[in-house]
Amino acid sequence: MTIDTLPKQLRENAQRFGNKIALREKEYGIWQSISWAQYLERVQHFALGLHSLGFKRGDIVGIIGDNRPEWVITELSAQSLGGASIGIYQDSTTEEVAYIISKCDMRFLVVEDQEQVDKILDLWDEIKGVEKVIYYDPKGLREYQHDFLMAFPEVEALGAAFQQQNPSFYDQSVDQGKGADIAILSTTSGTTSRPKLAKITHNNLIGMGVGLTSVDAFGADDQFLSFLPLAWIGEQMISVACGMRVGFALSFPEETGTVQSDLREIGPRIIFAPPRIWENMLSQVQVKIEDTSWLKRRVFDWSMRHGYRLADKRFAKQELTTQDRWLQRFLHWICFASILDQLGLRYMKWAYTGGAALGPDVFRFFHGMGVNLKQGYGQTETTGICVVHADGDIKFQTVGKAMPGAEIKIDPSGEILAKGTMCFAGYYQNEEATAESMTADGWVRTGDAGYFDDDGHLIVIDRAKDVMTLHDGTKFSPQFIENKLKFSQYIREAVVFGGGDLPYVTAFINIDFGNVGKWAENHQLAYTTYTDLAQKPEVYALVLQDVERTNADLPNAAKIQRFLLLHKELDADDAELTRTRKVRRGYIAKNYQEILDGLYSDKNSIDIQSVITYQDGRTATLNVTLRIESLRK
């Protein structure tokens, strides 16, 4: 039988790999593993448990929780029964959760712990259809008496009993699955308020896996740490789709706070992370190097200088001489190996960035240290990825070439269109949005503007609607400028304005509280809060240097002329960022209209009243004066 669904692949893997490790989770200080055979068994039990509780083909189970074996077991169980799963981000607001639950007519929810159970209990009156809420961390739940609450092992026990009675039911159910069935629903990082739910089929996931693994041949012995939300398509595509296809072990970190040390312990061979992770790693290195001894700093600077030179040679596809190769090894030995070890990148074979554009400087930095970092390009609608760099053909301005199985073209308006096995099956119960997202002949509209370079590499400019036309008529990507700014360890987030009617380019900047705070301490600068620190003249002067550095590389019309440091950090909870931490430019411009007007006036400061909403819903009003720094001569 051909393998056209993930549960069939799981069954095959259990046969083929048996006692080889499939899942590994750090719990109670040790890495506890589940073999492929055990994985299949647990999926069987949980699936049959769900079936006993009334789960039917086509049902959708919602999952809210950290990445744990139970997460993927639930996903595969739903799929084994001909249903689908949807991951809900843990930091979603209650309205978002309620919306997704009722949109999917969800009857079963699998949640991690007391925190999530409490969230569901708060919503209980709004979410009528839910029949069972299944939790997998019992801490604090002992006194909860609700009938609809069930522990994960209870469901598994129910399933084990069912299997005794009906030993062939599971296999029959899996056999009925077809490649065109929906495997998961994935929320799109909507820039509008309501997320859309993309239908991703087994064909999509498997097609994407075939495509990606034919570019980079992952092996069954490669390691992967699953630490980004499984609700995100980028995590699904490597950990579930590719992992299942190739049979490598998935490791789950102990807690969010331990990811860095868990990365070190696992030493993954593959990583797929959005730009913010790479940016964080970069600023960590920058800060630590600044703190280290004089000698180590000199060694690092020297190594980086040569590292950059060798990286540029590779980018230009020049042959490395024998001397270069020895130098590379020497640099690794004397400097990079220990830094990469701290970051958990020491054994990395294939590192990817995706989800948003990564600044070229960050990209070059990792190549300078010898990390094989590649850009991937895709969106939820193309199962996360359809364009990627091949080994030895990496250019940091581009995102690479279409993967096998995918086709890319640019429509006359400059928008990137994609077609192929990884292209999704439309939005769940939303014909209108589905029609808008595709052309009449079945190409997915990505909404990004781009073009091909001479080597056939795709270059993505920006979201088509974000590309700004400067006052002198040139088109420019605000994201490009933002990424240049974010190369600075002191800048965490930046929002650049300047297209259309606006006469020049300006920026809102979020300082990196940790790094700037440390800098302030080192310079005996006293501060109290984020707002206070951000408004210090010294901090403005510090950031000004980075803005000037950014400006140096920009054409005149695109140079930042005025900027200010925002009094608060942009936050997904305030709808200023998407859940995957992309800036929602339109919303920010609207919400901070007053501040934006200030940037386009000749004032040197602006007084604002800011309403802060605490996590428990209380609000407070804050009066702040924001300084505006002007670079105009």
């Binding site: 109670y28 997998y136 961390d137 801490k139 002992r142 522990a151 102990e254 807690e255 706070g257 331990t258």
Partner: protein, 274 residues
């Protein structure tokens, strides 16, 4: 070895829980009377809070229970033991643990080692077998480590497991100290101002941990606390001390309405704290 979140290692090997009966104790230091004729009981599985203004005798009370002070009059019965006549180093064997107002941890040891120290009472091996680390000694070490890991999980301190205690923020140190007391797997735990000096968020966390310890692990808890709001929320009963005398005891609602308590505590200068 698989360890599941559904395991409950704390349910085995724990000393039996008893009712604690404080009977007419009086304590004085020279001419200063710290406690005068105080009587109260604490039932197994209860959270009892002791509140009162500064110098009311709260910590003296706790110190009497755990054998640091010996009251001149009265008895403190825990099962068949009179704690008023017992030295403090016998208490761990009876399953009584405590934390201190000022953190008393080994600052230059890791969190993990501090917690393992809390298991000392459960370690039967001697220095020689421990050095050899073979057979029974190894199994015992693993068993203790497993227990400690459950404590780490309960208190959510996985990320600092291998850090030196001295380098941690104050709120975390308080949590580690609670962890060390829990590592003993006590039946009764005495907490001396577990939330002193914490910010609101840390207090909320600590309150949740205290409830978890009580509900999940079933440990009897006696705590001293200044923050009235927290005390009223989490305690089953509250005892109020003033100038070394017990002026009220009952459920939070009863205590709130007790006229003596209102006069002595809530109504006057400390009332603003709640």
């Amino acid at each position: 070895m698989r360890v599941s979140k559904f395991d409950r290692p704390y349910e085995s090997g724990r000393p039996e829980r008893h009712q604690l009966r404080v009977e007419n104790i009086s304590l004085s230091f020279g001419g200063v009377r710290a406690l005068t004729d105080v009587s109260l009981t604490c039932e197994p599985g209860e959270i009892l809070a002791i509140i009162g203004p500064n110098g009311a005798g709260k910590t003296s009370m706790l110190n009497c229970i755990c054998g640091l002070y010996h009251p001149q009059k009265g008895r403190i019965m825990y099962g068949n033991h009179n704690l008023a006549r017992t030295s403090s180093h016998h208490l761990p064997k009876m399953g009584i643990a405590r934390t201190f107002q000022n953190i008393e941890l080994f600052r230059h040891m890791t969190v993990l080692n501090n917690l393992m120290l809390g298991r000392h009472v459960h370690m039967k091996k001697n220095i020689l077998t421990a050095l050899l680390y073979w057979g029974w000694a190894e199994r015992e070490e693993i068993e203790n480590r497993r227990f400690v890991e459950h404590v780490i999980d309960l208190l959510e301190i996985q990320h600092i497991r291998k850090q030196m205690v001295g380098s941690l923020a104050y709120g975390l140190q308080k949590r580690v100290e609670l962890g060390r007391a829990l590592a003993m797997n006590p039946g009764l735990i005495l907490l001396d101002e577990p939330m002193a000096g914490m910010n609101v968020e840390e207090k909320e966390d600590m309150a949740r941990f205290i409830l978890d310890i009580n509900e999940e692990w079933g440990i009897t808890t006696i705590l001293i606390e200044h923050d009235m709001g927290v005390v009223m929320d989490i305690s089953d009963r509250v005892a109020v001390l003033e100038f070394g005398r017990l002026i009220g005891i009952g459920t939070p609602d009863e205590v709130r309405e007790n006229p003596d308590v209102i006069r002595a505590y809530l109504g006057q200068d400390h009332g603003g704290r709640s």
